[in-house]
């Protein structure tokens, strides 16, 4: 597998690893059966993604794309973050091998799921800044 230097850098030194307590939104995509799970946490203030963290189970490309996606959206408004596509993440990493494009799709989906979670909370009248985030569906681990 030939990864670019940027991919290897984000694999070895991933940015924004971790969790956010009382996150404004949490998105989890993928499943253990397929070999990758991404979980992205966002902290939103005044419509701006103030902080973002991730945890990823997966291959080198999955870890690198999670890291890169979080790096890209940090400081963006919600609307700006929604314009970030998997293609942009892959390009920012100098490209991905064709079989690994799937990983960048997951990164985009995890981010969108986290934003959706945030929006759902707003719609329910919850103030995500104060209410602890509801954990998404439990991942079944066998």
């Amino acid at each position: 597998m030939n990864y670019t230097e940027q991919v290897m850098d984000h694999f070895m030194n991933p940015r924004n690893v971790g969790e956010i307590e009382n996150a404004s939104g949490v998105g989890t995509v993928g499943n253990a059966k397929c070999g990758d799970i991404m979980k992205i946490y966002i902290k939103v203030k005044d419509n701006i993604i103030e902080d973002v963290k991730f945890k990823t189970f997966g291959c080198g490309a999955a870890i690198a794309t999670s890291s890169k996606a979080t790096e890209m959206v940090k400081g963006m408004t919600i609307d700006e973050a929604l314009t970030v596509t998997n293609k942009m993440v892959a390009e920012a990493l100098g490209g991905l091998p064709p079989v690994k494009i799937h990983c960048s799709v997951l990164a985009e989906e995890a981010l969108r799921a986290a934003i959706q979670d945030y929006k759902d909370k707003l719609a329910r009248g919850e103030n995500p800044d104060e209410v602890p985030s509801v954990e998404p569906e439990e991942i079944q681990y066998v």
């Binding site: 945890k55 990823t56 189970f57 291959c59 080198g60 681990y141």
Partner: protein
């Protein structure tokens, strides 16, 4: 950085004695073995010497050894050639669910061509079910093809018993011995093996040369048509230097198998024992004792194999994995799934495969590096978080 190679099941290096044996057959002894003149005759003599070396290693007759381009070609020839040669007897073949793709994909293609194939199940250790084998044999069964040892998990199959069953039912028996040469003692007559495939680069010969043993009287249809090389059964000018290399390499590899196995398995056991003891949530894949001396295959829970490979590679260590992410397909290794491993455990498998050049010191370095890699990846894994949280909840 010292690099450590523990991917000998993928390929091995050509050793110096093998290289030295091959050296004259590029620039000096370059004749075509099919030529009648002196240049040809000296090449022919060398090829026939290599044939004898291969025959000796299997306790076969040199006239029963055919050189091929690789192990895959040998497998294709044995399976496809036998299926078509015996088409009047029937169109049913038996193999196992854990064969190399050289067999599995050949069988799948034969199914498309109207043949019927039974894929025998294996137990949790990767051993082929012999009861299922006996049950699967039908009057129209023409071939049983079971590997001698598995390339991923190293499980050694009960070849002698399979040979006995095949003979009792008058069905031909082929074995893919690509991983087993040098680790398993072969006596093709005693073991009732009708055909046996091997690949040079798995035992320190170069890539691009293999051999197929075909017992006298067995006649699979030829795969490659052309000249009269290999007694008219495999056309194409002999890859002389590589054939010489294969002959020398198999002579060395089979000179003292018990000693080789004792030395290599000592390093393997150091790997297995330390990993299982020092890294929690790990499990050995394959059979604990009925196992190739050089195979260590372990699953690490909560993490994925390709990321482990990358982490080890950055530390100069070469390994392999059964994860989908490393293969380019969506499913993890068919071998691990056939053994009943859940997908997520198969994704987290790591294979370290040894040769006699790997040392105990290297094993220790690899385990030390692995501990760091596994800890780091687990710290990134949401599965590990969930598991630890669930454990805490259970205690509370």
């Amino acid at each position: 950085m010292e690099r450590i190679y523990m991917d000998n099941a993928a390929t091995t290096r050509v050793t110096e004695p093998v290289m030295a044996a091959m050296q004259p057959y590029f620039c000096e002894v370059f004749g075509n073995p099919m030529s009648i003149h002196g240049f040809g005759r000296e090449a022919r003599k060398a090829v026939e010497n290599a044939r004898r070396q291969v025959a000796d290693a299997l306790k076969a007759d040199p006239s029963e050894i055919y050189f091929t381009g690789c192990g895959t070609e040998s497998d294709n020839w044995a399976v496809r050639g036998t299926a078509y040669a015996q088409i009047r007897k029937g169109k049913h073949l038996i193999t196992s669910a854990i064969e190399h793709h050289a067999i599995i994909h050949t069988c799948a293609q034969l199914e498309k061509e109207g043949f019927e194939v039974t894929y025998l199940p294996v137990d949790e250790f990767g051993v082929v079910d012999l009861v299922a084998l006996e049950k699967a044999i039908r009057p129209d069964t023409t071939l049983i093809s079971i590997m001698s040892a598995n390339n991923e998990v190293g499980t050694i199959q009960p070849i002698e018993e399979i040979g006995r069953i095949a003979k009792a039912h008058n069905v031909l028996f082929h074995t893919d011995a690509v991983q087993a040469i040098g680790s398993v003692e072969f006596d093709v007559k005693k073991m009732n093996i009708d055909m046996l495939s091997m690949s040079g680069h798995k035992f320190h010969a170069p890539k691009g040369v293999g051999a197929l043993y075909i017992r006298k009287g067995v006649r699979p249809q030829r795969l490659i048509h052309g000249g009269e090389q290999e007694r008219g059964q495999r056309a194409g000018t002999e890859n002389v230097a590589s054939i010489i290399g294969l002959g020398k390499a198999i002579e060395i590899a089979t000179a003292n198998i018990p000693r080789h196995n004792a030395e290599v398995s000592a390093v393997r056991d150091r790997l297995i024992d330390r990993i299982l003891r020092e890294i929690p949530y790990t499990r050995l894949n394959g059979h604990r004792t009925q196992r190739l001396p050089g195979n260590c295959n372990i699953s690490f829970e909560f993490i994925e194999g390709e990321s482990m490979l990358l982490g080890l590679d950055l530390k100069g260590i070469a390994a392999s994995t059964g994860s989908a992410c490393a293969s380019g397909s969506l499913d993890p290794s068919h071998v691990l799934l056939a053994m009943g491993l859940p997908h997520e455990i198969a994704h987290g498998s790591l294979r370290l495969s040894l040769c006699e050049e790997n040392t105990l010191e290297q094993a220790d370095k690899v385990v030390d590096a692995l501990i760091e890699v596994v800890n780091r990846l687990r710290s990134l894994s949401p599965l590990y978080d969930d598991f630890i949280a669930a454990q805490k909840a259970n205690k509370a």
